[in-house]
Amino acid sequence: MSTARAERLVNLVLALLSTRQYLSAERIRGIVPGYGDAASDEAYFRMFERDKTELRELGIPLETGRNSAFDAIEGYRIARRDYELGEIDLAPDEAAAVALASRLWDSPELTGQAQGALVKLRAAGLEVDDQAPTVVEPRVRAEPAFGPLLAAVQNGQAVGFEYRRSGSPERIMRTLEPWGVVSWKARWYVVGHDRDRGATRCFRLSRVTGQVRPVGKPGAVRRPDGVNLLQLVSATSGSAEPSPVTTARLWVADGRAAGVRRRGTVVGRSTIDGEEGDLVEIGLYFPESAADWITAQGPDVVVLEPDVLAKTVQDRLEAVVARQGSGR
């Protein structure tokens, strides 16, 4: 931005802040320095339009209105109470939290926005040191779809997007009435009413591909009362610490499969196929996925109990041999 334009914009803000009367475009041209340079009426109006857009993009609440019923045209002013940041005072530990939060994002766009907020908080007289060293540095990632989806939630507008389900190459178009964007265990989801399914659905933002398009008019979507967004997502993605559903008895070759050993308890010794090993008992939380990590151990682990797990592991190993050969 040129120095002349920056100077003109600051003067425009000061003039509009200082007036109770709405100032017409003509009057602004007469009093704010810089507009006098416009070569023609048309050049002035173009310049003024661009400046108004700039002020609105900065977040400045530009009011339009008439001073009296007899005024033929609308004028402009900035209401001080809408322009100014509310009174705020932060204790040192609160300021430290804000400083840490401002560098939490893993996205340049959101980091820039958070830095913008810090500039204003400092201008309100707060001391916020975002360079201070900290013991813990958390990071939060935001997917590209975060911004557009949040905007749609806030505008009450339906959205269309392409979605890729887990384990499938297919990209399916979804139309969603979004109720909220939810972060659960550092993964982002959008929750809402899926128009295609006619039901409440959660979508992971990392699986939204391509552009998020607004569908229909803003204000058309309203979140039903009593909806708990976090509950909807956490119910879909599983609870934190379940209890083991079954106990498995495994043989583990000596000096092998450290990852399996650290999950269980050694209860005895045994020899299989001439190999010495330990008998290990393990509480299984997800018997289905247990077959995966036990199969991964190859000949170092043999399932003794339960039979159903032993059978599943054996089937998978045979499937590997069928697919990959026996390596000989």
Partner: protein, 326 residues
């Protein structure tokens, strides 16, 4: 923030900023705004030309310089910062909510108080429709580890840890000099100088099986640099090998979970990927665990290792302990 697009927010914030800090040094102010002192002086010169209609001596913003310090003598009505935009309030408040959900980082009470204050100051700009929950994926044991590690980092003490290295499937004892505690994508890591490996390492907290705080201070060498985690915690290393795998639909999660290059979409929803790995035995375990839902196309020694381990396992399971003990 030195780009021209950020000049307007800075110009609008400068006068209230200086009013709150009479006599601040130019260098200190420049640092707070993340610009050079030269740029800050240019901004001040510009503001000095601005003011209220009339633009006479009593209407213009007036600043007085004394040595390298600044005092605002007339603010022309610009005495408070502009309110937060929706984007700024969202970025800060959502980050604070994430912080409140991440235990052990800062005092949770302080975070909640700051959220309430910023929400109230932000007014209408506060983000509706965003909820943050469960900032850390950890069990009770890992939570205890995290608390002990955080204390060691804060107190600057060395640690003796019993650590499970998943890539090598080994448990080792190490003495480490803690540098910082990181929480990336809800998983906690200790970054430390490992005296055994003589390098900076990231240790996943849920793989620290035992931990002793030592009496000696944490003393990472001067050349121990923090890990760049801007691209996540997986890093490519020069000694890594490359495998080409074909994933069946049920194994496609591998492409999402590990950094890899997607080569071709094949018929039946299969996907061909190229993936780098440092440790052959780790890669063998990964493919075996996929239970026939993946095919190793290259390298040949990886393919034959996978097949041989599977065939050996099938043979071994046929010899149950009871049949050996007689």
């Amino acid at each position: 923030m030195s780009g021209s697009t950020d000049r307007m927010p800075r110009l609008l914030a400068l006068v209230p900023y200086l009013l709150a800090r009479p006599g601040i040094r130019v260098d200190d102010a420049a640092q707070d705004f993340d610009v050079t002192p030269k740029q800050l002086r240019k901004d001040l010169e510009l503001l000095w030309m601005c003011g209220l209609p009339g633009y006479g001596p009593g209407d213009l913003i007036d600043l007085s310089f004394e040595g390298d310090t600044i005092v605002v003598t007339h603010d022309a009505g610009m005495n408070r910062p502009l309110r937060l935009t929706g984007g700024e309030a969202t970025a800060l408040l959502v980050a604070l909510r994430a912080l409140a959900e991440t235990p052990g980082v800062v005092d949770g009470d302080a975070v909640r108080r700051s959220i309430a204050k910023i929400e109230s100051a932000a007014g209408q700009a506060q983000p509706a429709g965003v909820v943050v929950g469960g900032g850390v994926r950890e069990g009770k044991k890992t939570a205890r580890t995290r608390e002990e590690v955080a204390r060691a980092v804060r107190d600057g003490r060395a640690l003796r840890i019993r650590y499970y290295t998943a890539s090598k499937d080994q448990i080792t004892e190490r003495t480490v000099d803690p540098m910082r505690l990181l929480i990336v994508q809800a998983v906690g890591y200790l970054e430390a100088w490992c005296r055994r490996a003589e390098g900076v390492r990231l240790f996943r907290l849920d793989r620290i099986d035992e931990l002793t705080v030592l009496d000696e201070p944490s003393r990472p060498p001067a050349h121990a640099h923090p890990t760049d985690i801007s691209d996540g915690v997986f890093r490519e290393r020069p000694d890594q090998r490359e495998a080409v795998l074909v994933l069946d639909p049920d194994a496609r999660w591998v492409a999402e979970y590990y950094p890899c290059e997607e080569l071709d979409e094949l018929d039946g929803g299969r996907l061909r990927i190229r993936m780098r790995y440092a440790d052959q035995s780790w890669m063998v375990r990964l493919v075996l665990g996929l239970g026939g839902e993946a095919l190793v196309e290259s390298p040949a020694d990886l393919a034959s290792d996978v097949g041989r381990r599977a065939a050996d396992a099938v043979a071994r399971a046929r010899h149950l302990p009871s049949t050996c003990d007689h």
